[in-house]
Amino acid sequence: MSDAGLKSRLVPRLLLAPAVSTLLLWMIVPLAMTVYFSFIRYNLMRPDVTGSAGWMNYEFFITNPAFGDAVFNTLLLLGSTVLVTVVFGLLIALLINDPFPGRALVRVLLISPFFVMPTVNALLWKHMMMNPIYGVLAQVWTFFGWTPIDWMTDFPLGSIIIMISWQWLPFAVLIFVTALQSMDREQLEASELDGATYLQQLRYLYLPHMARAISVVVMIEVIFLLSVFAEIFVTTAGGPGTASTNLAFLIFTEALLNFDVGAASAGAVFAIILANIVAIFLIRMIGKNLEN
C-alpha cells in the first residue's frame, strides 16, 4: 500500500477512534459486568452469601409479579407519550405555521417546558398542579363543580404521562414547525387549483412532507423515554403498588432499595434486551425515512 493510499485510509479511522473506542468501552464494560453480576449471588446486605447463582436471579426477577407490570408500563408510557406529542405537535405546528401577531413570543412560550429539568417538572406537577386540595387542577375542577381528582393515587401512570408529554410536546412542535417552513408553497397552490380540500392537502401533501420530521421526533423520544426515571423517582416512587413502576425504576428498586445487585443485574439484562427489540423495530420502521 502506498503512502498516500495508506494515509487516506488511516486518517478517517484515526478521527473516528476516540468516539468509537470510548463508546465501546462505555457499552461493553458495564454490559459485561451486568451480565456477570446477573449470574452470581450478590446482595449488599448479605456479603456472606456468594457464589454462582445460575439462572436464579433471572427466575427471581421474572417471577416477581412487578416484572410484567414494569414491562407493560414502560411500553405504555413510551407509546402514549410518543402518540400524544406527535399528534398534538402536528396540530399545533399547523396552527402556528402561518404568521399571526405575536408568533415569535408564542414560540418562546411553547418551547419553554423543554428546558425544564425533569426533577422540577415532576415536583411542579405533583404539588402545584395535581395536588387534590391545593393544586391548580383541583381548583379548576371545583370551579366547574366536579370532584377534584387525586391524580397521584388514582392515575399515577397517567399523571406521569402528562408530565412527560408536557416536556416533550414543545420539542415535537419546534421540529414540525421547522419542517413545515420548507413546505413547497407552489405545490400547495397547485393542489388548490386542482380543488383539493384542506383535509386532502393534509393527507397527501403535509403528511408525506413531514415523514422525516416525524421519524426524527419518534426516534429521539424513544431514546429518551425508554428509561424515564427522575419523574417517577420524585413523584410516585413507582406506586401505588406497581401502578407507575417502569423497568428502569424496578431495577433501581432492586439494586438500591433491596440491595440485591444480582437480581437488579438480571433486570438490567432484560431492560437491555427490551431496548434492543424496540431499537430494531424502530430502525426497521423509520430507518428508511432517515436515509438521504
Partner: protein
C-alpha cells in the same frame, strides 16, 4: 385555503387558539415563578392568590440552608466541561463519517444511537461499583465523563447530519490549495459547520444541565448539581411550596433563559437534517 383566501375572522380565531395553547403550556412555569415570591401561607391558599407583596425570603433561605451557589457551580462546570469534551471527541468522528463514508458508516452510526437506547439503569450497578472502587463516587470528574458518554451518540449524529450538508468539493478545493488536515478543520469545517456545532453544543448543555438519573444515584453533597438540590427539597419538605418553588426557579432559570435566546440556533441542528 390559501393564505389570501383566509378570512380575517379565521385568522383571529387561529391566533387566539395559538395564544391560548401557548399560555396553557407556559402556565405551570409562570405559576412556579409566582409561587417562589409568596410566603408559605400564600402559596397554599385556595383559591390561589395572584396579587400580593412579593418576598425574596425563600431565595435567601435556600441559599443559606443548602448553599445554592455550590450546586449551581457544579451544574455549570459539569455541563460546560462535558459539552466541550464531547465536542472534542464528536467533531472529528462526525467529520470522518461525513466526508469519508464507508459501507459501514450507517451501521456504526446506528450502533452509536442504539447504545443511547439502553436504559442508563442497566449500567447503574457497574458504574456505581466502578466509581466506588476508583474513588470517583460523588465527584464532578465522574459526572463530566458520564455526561460526555451519555451525550456522545447524539452529538456525533447531529454533527454528522450538519457536516453532511457542506459540499464535499470545498474540502477538495482546500486540499488542492495546500490545506492539510488541520487547515481543513480550521479554515473550512469550523466556519462552515459552526451552526451545527453550536446547536449540538447547546442541546448537550441543556441535556447535561437537566440530567437527573446519574446525579441522583452517584452524587450527594460534594458533586451534586441543581437537579439533586431540587430533589432534596422534595419529600419531607414537600409542602413548603414557596421554598420548593424558589429552589426550582433557581435551578431552571439559567437554562430556560439560555434556551429562549438560543432556540432558533438550537432547533436547526435538532432536526437532524430532516428539514432542509
Amino acid at each position: 385555503m390559501s393564505f389570501a383566501q383566509k378570512s380575517k375572522s379565521a385568522t383571529v380565531i387561529r391566533s387566539s387558539v395559538a395564544w391560548l395553547i401557548a399560555l396553557v403550556m407556559f402556565f405551570p412555569i409562570l405559576f412556579l415563578t409566582v409561587t417562589a415570591f409568596k410566603t408559605e401561607l400564600q402559596a397554599i391558599a385556595v383559591p390561589s392568590v395572584w396579587f400580593f407583596e412579593p418576598t425574596l425570603e425563600n431565595f435567601t433561605e435556600v441559599q443559606e440552608r443548602s448553599d445554592y451557589l455550590h450546586y449551581a457551580w457544579n451544574s455549570v462546570l459539569t455541563s460546560v466541561m462535558s459539552t466541550l469534551l464531547g465536542l472534542l471527541i464528536a467533531i472529528p468522528a462526525a467529520f470522518s463519517f461525513a466526508f469519508t463514508p464507508t459501507r459501514r458508516t450507517k451501521d456504526i452510526l446506528m450502533w452509536m444511537l442504539s447504545t443511547k437506547m439502553m436504559p442508563a439503569v442497566g449500567a447503574l450497578v457497574p458504574i456505581y461499583v466502578l466509581s466506588q472502587k476508583t474513588g470517583l463516587l460523588d465527584t464532578r470528574f465522574a459526572l463530566i465523563i458520564i455526561f460526555t458518554m451519555m451525550n456522545l451518540p447524539i452529538m456525533v449524529w447531529m454533527l454528522y447530519s450538519a457536516f453532511k450538508d457542506i459540499p464535499h468539493e470545498i474540502f477538495e478545493a482546500a486540499r488542492m490549495d495546500g490545506a492539510g488536515l488541520w487547515e481543513e478543520f480550521r479554515h473550512v469545517l469550523l466556519p462552515l459547520g459552526m451552526g451545527g456545532i453550536a446547536s449540538t453544543g447547546l442541546l448537550c448543555l441543556v441535556l447535561a444541565w437537566n440530567e437527573a438519573f446519574w446525579v441522583l444515584n452517584l452524587t450527594s453533597s460534594q458533586a451534586g448539581t441543581l437537579a439533586s438540590l431540587v430533589a432534596s427539597y422534595s419529600s419531607p419538605e414537600g409542602l413548603f411550596w414557596a421554598k420548593l418553588s424558589a429552589v426550582s426557579v433557581l435551578a431552571i432559570a439559567p437554562i430556560v433563559v439560555f434556551g429562549w435566546f438560543s432556540q432558533k440556533q438550537l432547533v436547526q441542528g435538532l432536526t437532524f437534517g430532516a428539514v432542509k
